[in-house]
């Protein structure tokens, strides 16, 4: 009789179970990829098909924070592509590396004609077709968000041409469009029903009509202006798709808009974008001229149409040639689309390029690297119950820390776009004898030669690219050092930042991240920065906005406020106390220049850390005239001893973040004043997210601080951050400025913060965070907001567009409002 085999039960260690995948050789340290382009042809038309698809990518994540080793997962994302995918149903076995959208390249004066297709396979993602907030088991309930100010319609999308000076309406830079993915036919292998071929006949006729209307127009002509400008067949095709496949209510909403003479908002599967990139040709530059201030209109209503249809005046501004970009901008899905990678560069060429090429060589600018910074991710963390944090590490052209190759002594022009949905990249000035750089342009607008030639502004300076900002940098490689061989490498460092408190000097312990690495090869022909006298000629229409031009002022107040009793991230994001509701937040008359004060009433720690909301306004760039940062530091010095113990002693009515700090070797009474900040470094190596604020000083070795640090701080070293502003005149240090808590008129900068002339143009600028000042009497407490003042010319194009925070989760959750530029006339202007 055979014995049954003895079964041995051995306790085997469980294999580490993970669903991560190898990141592959392309993820980190690979050569900087060149992004595919859609370029204007010899006919002066940027013509192409713009596919929005779903694809599975090797997504990098950072469990230990930016700058650490990535962990990768296969993730389905939404993406912009210049070509049709190999398959409309890519198999699960297909995996690609993340790649930004195609680079668009055209010249001022040229036409843009793009067939936009939303071919996302919506079923790869949780059902977002309900017309309300995207829902999970934790969202939106836990965050308290309500439609429309929530993550919503995550597969619906559109395109915002960020930095363009064009019409904000109809088929141009219209961000009110909401384009649903094409339905798919399950009986035909699930292919999209709306295709390039299915819309081509009507779209081609439309593009032909659009060219006839706009191509030779020299003024700020808008076409189409009304729905009836479209040929009936195109109207029918677009509306039939909405009627048959749109979200319930879309068709009726479109019909109402059309009946009211407005442009329908909702589409399914396809949309034709057509607009002209305006080229400034006339000598009229000022909004001061009487002709300009009295546009040739005949009153309100239909008169506005007349003005736009046949403008009797030239452009007051043209498109600034430079590095612009585009991204998805459908309210509610902007964050998730941009996180997935739906961004790309839009290079608009002009005399700027001609002047650079005259110095560096034919078509030199077209051969220079385009660097698209992204923070790639699957979705906003709020959707799954998370929140806050610095977000993913920066990628450039879809790669982490890619390598740029330069010949020794050569110069490249880097067109850098920060298309991250959240964080700013603060570029650290290069060290001596390494790379050198000189900044040429900001936000797609070249520097005046006076600025370009000012070493204190442009040469080897640190600078911030907030989400949405761009910079053109001339970068010069050092000579090749043969003794170093393969180690002729130079890292370009940045800090992940949404506020100065995220980086030195306010945060001395912040982690420096490598954005790109430059590999220097053998020396090439010696090159240098273009001399100031040969630098690109500055366009006349970008002259400084003078005091005399200003015809109006406004104040807009941004705020992250806590939702009682919700802790962060349940903050509510508002402008002037309101969530976005589609109503007007600002009205400006066409062809006027105004000065606006953009205020930040975010007061930490009630809303987590300081937040410098990046303000962005569409269509027209602006100039900064004043900046007030109540959190600005005067100095940062190391403390003299160490923190010995920390005891959490919240008293009744005090925040639970208050700690009593004692120390050894210290001199708290000499070194600190009430209101100073203190960074305490956890001896275990952990660093607080935010500095503590000194609230009372008991003795040389004991004081009380409000501190966000977790855990035991015993043994930690510390830095003292002395603020530039104080409300205590009696104890103010030399160099500190005193703000009167009872007099808001004193809440302004005490030094000149912006030069009075030769100002830089921007389209995104971070608003300094607010600050809560406490008095030594333990009762005085005052919230003082940060702000900047900006001037803009609201010229050429009437219509509706938006301004918003460029932390896109804030925008989706309500920190956005509508601007109307209206060609209004008084009743007495009829003639």
């Amino acid at each position: 009789m055979k014995k049954a085999p003895l079964l041995l039960f051995i306790a085997l260690p469980l294999a580490a179970q993970t669903n991560s995948i190898p990141c592959g050789s392309n993820a980190t340290g690979a050569p900087l990829p060149t992004i595919p382009e859609i370029s204007a042809g010899s006919d002066g038309i940027l013509n192409g098909t713009f596919y929005t698809v779903s694809e599975q990518v090797r997504m990098t994540t950072f469990p230990n924070g930016p700058g650490t080793t990535p962990v990768c997962y296969p993730q389905w994302v939404r993406a912009y592509r210049p070509d049709a995918p190999k398959s409309w149903n890519p198999p699960a076995s297909e995996l690609v590396d993340p790649t930004p959208g195609p680079t668009l390249r055209a010249r001022v004066g040229q036409m843009v004609e793009l067939t936009f297709l939303n071919s996302i396979d919506a079923n790869k993602f949780p059902n977002a077709d309900k017309g309300g907030c995207d829902e999970t088991s934790s969202y939106p309930a836990d965050a308290g968000d309500k439609y429309p100010d929530c993550f919503a319609g995550s597969v619906f999308t559109n395109v915002h041409y960020h930095g363009t000076h064009t019409s904000p309406s109809t088929t141009a830079d219209n961000v009110f469009l909401n384009i649903k993915p094409s339905p798919r036919d399950p009986k035909k292998n699930n292919v999209p029903l709306v295709t390039a071929a299915s819309v081509k006949p009507n779209f081609d006729k439309f593009f032909t009509d659009c060219e006839k209307q706009l191509k030779t127009a020299t003024g700020p002509k808008i076409w189409p202006r009304k729905w009836k400008d479209l040929q009936p067949d195109l109207q029918k095709q677009l509306m039939d798709l909405v009627e048959k496949y749109g979200v319930k209510g879309w068709y009726e909403a479109n019909q109402n808009l059309i009946e009211n003479g407005e442009w329908p908002q909702y589409y399914v599967g396809a949309y034709p974008y057509c607009f002209k990139i305006p080229e400034y040709t006339d000598g009229t530059t000022s909004t001061e001229s009487a002709d300009v201030r009295t546009p040739h209109t005949h009153g309100a209503g239909a008169a506005e149409v007349d003005e736009a249809a046949a403008p009797s005046r030239p452009l007051l501004m043209g498109q600034a040639p430079g590095t612009h970009w585009y991204h998805a901008h459908k309210h509610g899905s902007t964050t998730i689309n941009v996180l997935n990678g739906m961004t790309g560069a839009f290079i608009i060429e002009g005399s700027y390029d001609d002047d650079l090429n005259a110095y560096y060589g034919v078509n030199w600018t077209q051969k220079q690297p385009v660097m698209l910074i992204q923070q790639l991710g699957t979705g906003p963390s709020l959707l799954t119950g998370g929140g806050g944090g610095p977000g993913p590490d920066f990628s450039v052209n879809g790669r982490l820390r890619p390598v740029v190759t330069m010949a020794g002594n050569s110069v490249q022009m880097w067109r850098i776009v920060n298309s991250a949905s959240r964080a700013g990249a603060f570029f650290v000035a290069p060290a001596a004898n390494t790379l050198q750089w000189r900044q040429l342009a900001q936000d797609g607008v070249q520097f005046k030669p006076e600025i370009y030639g000012d070493d204190d502004i442009s040469l080897n300076q640190s600078f911030l690219l907030a989400s949405g900002n761009r910079a053109d940098l001339l970068v010069k490689a050092p000579p090749y050092n043969s003794a170093q061989g393969a180690t002729n490498t130079y890292d370009v460092y940045v800090y992940n930042t949404v506020d100065p408190s995220d980086r030195p000097p306010q945060k001395p312990t912040a982690t420096k991240l490598t954005l790109v690495t430059v590999q220097v090869t053998a020396d090439g022909p010696a090159m240098d920065f273009i001399p100031v006298d040969k630098a690109p000629t500055f366009p006349e229409f970008l002259s400084d906005i003078t005091d005399e031009e200003i015809t109006g002022t406004k104040i807009l107040k941004f705020a992250s406020s806590p939702v009682p009793p919700g802790p962060p991230p349940a903050s509510v994001q508002t402008i002037d106390g309101k969530l976005f509701d589609g109503e007007l937040g600002a009205v400006v008359e066409l062809n006027r220049a105004e000065e606006w004060k953009i205020v930040n009433e975010t007061y930490p720690p009630s809303t987590s850390n300081q937040i410098s909301h990046p303000f962005h306004i569409h269509i027209n760039p602006f100039q900064i005239t004043e900046i007030f940062d109540p959190n600005a530091p005067l100095s940062v010095t190391p403390g003299k001893g160490t923190v010995a113990t920390s005891t959490q002693k919240p008293k009744q009515g005090e925040p639970d973040k208050r700690k009593t700090i004692t120390g050894t070797g210290t001199s708290f009474t000499k070194d600190f004043k009430i209101g100073d900040s203190i960074w305490i470094n956890d001896p275990a190596g952990k660093v607080a997210d935010a500095p503590g604020m000194v609230r009372s000083i008991t003795s040389d070795t004991e004081m009380t601080v409000d501190v966000n640090a977790k855990g035991n701080l015993t043994g930690g070293t510390y830095q003292i951050v002395v603020p530039q502003y104080t409300i205590e005149r009696a104890t103010a240090r030399p160099g500190q400025c005193v703000l009167n808590p009872a007099d808001p008129q004193t809440w302004k900068p005490c030094t000149v913060t912006v030069p009075p002339q030769d100002r830089i143009w921007w389209d995104v600028f971070s608003i300094p965070s607010g600050h809560t000042f406490y008095g030594a009497d333990a009762t005085t407490k005052v919230n003082i907001p940060g702000y900047f003042k900006m001037r803009s010319r609201f010229v050429d194009y009437p219509g509706y567009f938006v301004l918003h925070c460029h932390i896109l989760a804030h925008e989706d959750r309500g920190m956005m409002t509508v601007v109307e530029v209206a060609p209004l006339q008084t009743p007495y202007s009829h003639h």
Binding site: T18, N19, M59, V71, A92, P126, P186, G379, T384
Partner: protein, 107 residues
């Protein structure tokens, strides 16, 4: 790292559940971490509804998923739904209880 997003296809009749994920063979459970977002992509001509059977709180995870649509709301995986012996989140179709699937919880 939690917070990833996954899609499970519902295919055939009777329906089976197939992770739409690189590296996961048909018939294998979807590997996911607690805190990940999961949706079901109904590729069949009939409606289904996902019901979690493991853990402390058996319940409907989704509304009825119409033919050729994806599930609503998105399901965020929870520790309370895990079968502590198998380490899986087990689910089935409410309308067709014989149609069963699993999410394998990983770290």
């Amino acid at each position: 790292m939690a917070g990833q997003s996954w899609s499970i296809m519902i295919k055939g009749s009777p329906a089976s559940f197939e992770a739409d994920v690189y590296g996961v063979d048909p018939g294998q459970p979807l590997p996911a971490q607690i805190g990940d977002l999961v949706c079901w992509n109904n590729q069949t001509g009939e409606a289904h509804q996902i019901f979690v059977t493991s853990g402390k709180n058996p319940r409907e995870l989704t509304e009825e998923i119409a033919e050729y649509t994806s599930s609503f709301p998105g399901y965020v995986t929870q520790q309370d739904d895990v079968d502590s012996t198998t380490g899986t989140i087990d689910y089935q179709c409410s309308s067709h209880p014989e149609e069963k699937g699993q999410i394998k919880v990983v770290s």
